[in-house]
């Protein structure tokens, strides 16, 4: 049954984005908000707004009974969870459906299965999708470790079975290394965790983060090509691109086909993203996890394919079969998105909530700014620092970077510190321009003064 009235269980720029897509489909919008968000942009734009609880997210945006009760009371027939908060809560999806509303996302069972790393890995293996090869369990014997390493291929990472957070990880380049390092790793794990168990995993060197956007209707699935999001700080993406120019056409085709295979094998319904690590030196990709929701960086895919992913999500949740056939989904040109956060890059990215002063937003062909701002808006300190996303689309990657630099210079958000200076420095960096980076590139670049180097050059 088509959705007539949509409850938006999120905030910020994604709530604004969902309202726009729903409105284009003639769907009534009901915006949830906390007490601290009563004057946010999405509340102003929505047809109706409902307060769901106090400022603290645990008592409002993360409070399943409160959100479901508010949506029911408002008479909504569907709930869009956005990203973050309850977007990947199987319990929330279940509660929404149990209350007689459509959940804009996949079945709770699929959220559960894909949210569990081990289950997701098994599902990927079943669908023939490559995963990071490893020992699939602990190894207590060096000879067995040598056998496994020979199968997995060097270099291998030696990890403590009881460890976490990257502690005690060693990399063995050869069998001799492994024979020397494994006993050390065991002794260290025994001392640190009281458990000398270790396991092995193929080391992915200088990994690039590549992901594939998919859409499914529970029976069929298509991909909307890939994105590269290797520029990350503290595991948060800061700059995202579509497509991934480091891939050959053959690798790109194999990668996207693998994503569709996994989506089909689990009967995926809705929009989802499969994340992979890509090792350039060996031209190999490995599935790491699936996100069963819309992602922050979805606009770069929309720019290159012309597909409105939120609209497709709403249609699928309303019971429509996929409208798009794979052969109709072409990616043209190159798109880049940068995240504009209320953070001060000059002070270790200290969050900087404040009151938005004069606002100047660049406009033009191939330019888009998805945001939550208006002049005079007081940014609340209780939620994450993402204010908006500046997106550009151009025929080539080089032109897209140049366009991004131009657009960043025109974007003015008075009253708050933002990450605009970081993105200006990245756009001007020769390594970024050459596409030579990986997931561990940005932090050393920042530590090495990449940002200040650029600003000093600009000042001369």
């Amino acid at each position: 049954m088509p959705i007539r009235s949509l409850f938006i269980a999120n905030r910020g720029e994604i709530a604004v984005r969902i309202i726009r897509a729903a409105r284009a489909l003639g769907i009534e919008t009901i915006q949830a908000h906390s007490e601290a968000d009563a004057d946010m942009l999405a509340v102003r734009l929505a047809d109706r707004a409902v307060c769901i609880g106090p400022a603290k997210a645990a008592d409002s945006y993360l409070n399943i009974p409160a959100v479901v009760a508010a949506a029911r009371k408002a008479g909504a027939d569907a709930v869009h969870p956005g990203y973050g908060f309850l977007a990947e809560s199987a319990d929330f999806a279940r509660a929404v459906r149990a209350a007689g509303m459509a959940f804009v996302g996949p079945a709770a069972e699929i959220i559960d299965a894909m949210g569990d790393k081990v289950a997701a890995r098994s599902a990927a293996i079943l669908a023939g999708v490559p995963v990071v090869p490893g020992s699939d369990g602990r190894l207590d014997d060096i000879e067995r470790a040598v056998e496994v390493a020979a199968q997995v291929g060097y270099p291998v990472m030696i990890k403590a079975a009881a460890g976490g957070g990257g502690r005690g990880i060693r990399v063995a380049e050869t069998e001799a290394d492994l024979r020397r390092l494994a006993p050390q790793a065991r002794a260290e794990a025994e001392a640190a965790f009281g458990d000398g168990g270790i396991y092995l995993e193929r080391a992915v060197r200088s990994p690039r983060h590549i992901e594939v956007q998919i859409l499914g209707d529970g029976t069929d699935a298509v991909h909307c090509h890939e994105r590269e999001c290797s520029l990350q700080r503290r595991r948060q993406k800061v700059w995202e691109e579509a497509g991934a120019t480091c891939l050959s056409p053959e690798t790109r085709a194999a990668l996207c086909a693998s994503a569709v295979a996994l989506a089909k094998s689990v009967g995926y319904a809705g929009a989802g993203t499969l994340e992979y690590l890509y090792e350039e030196a060996t031209d190999s990709f490995f599935f790491i996890e699936m996100n069963t929701r819309i992602q922050v960086e979805h606009p770069v895919t929309e720019m290159t394919t012309g597909i409105d992913l939120i609209e497709e999500m709403l249609r699928i949740a309303g019971g429509e079969p996929l409208r798009l056939r794979q052969q109709d989904i072409a990616a043209t040109g190159h798109a880049i998105e940068v995240r504009i956060n209320a953070e001060d890059p000059a002070r270790q990215f200290l969050p900087f909530p404040g009151r938005v002063g004069a606002l100047q937003i660049p406009e033009g062909d191939g330019l888009r700014f998805d945001h939550m701002l208006y002049e005079g808006y007081q940014i609340p300190p209780f939620y994450d620092s993402l204010l908006g996303k500046l997106i550009v689309h151009a025929p080539t990657r080089a032109e897209a970077i140049a366009k991004m630099a131009g657009a960043l210079k025109c974007l003015k958000i008075d009253g708050v510190k933002t990450t605009i200076p970081l993105h200006l420095a990245l756009a001007a960096d020769p390594q970024v321009q050459a596409g030579r980076f990986h997931t561990q590139w940005l932090e050393p670049w920042l530590a090495g003064g990449g940002l200040t180097r650029h600003q000093e050059k600009e000042a001369v």
């Binding site: 601290a36 400022a55 603290k56 953070e343 200290l350 969050p351 909530p353 300190p381 994450d384």
Partner: protein
């Protein structure tokens, strides 16, 4: 009596973690470099330093409560 203001808007916490005791109890010695609480701003935890010396005279802002920049968090004698 000296007041310790919040350096940022956010949520103020008396404790380093929910299962731990508050940073300071009444009567504790306070040095300028001592942490007296945390302010959570946009999912980042910022340590609040006393900036003054003396004897801790109690929290003014409640644990886990929203505060504005400049709000008094605690007092020192």
């Amino acid at each position: 009596m000296k007041e310790i203001p919040s350096p940022l808007p956010g949520t103020f916490y008396h404790k380093p973690a929910p299962d731990q005791p508050p940073f300071k109890a009444n009567g504790d010695a306070v040095a300028p470099d001592d942490t007296i609480g945390l302010v959570e701003v946009m999912k980042t935890f910022i340590e609040v330093k006393a900036e003054v010396a003396g004897s801790f005279a109690g929290y003014v802002a409640q644990d886990s409560s929203p505060v504005q920049a400049g709000d008094t968090l605690a007092k020192v004698e």
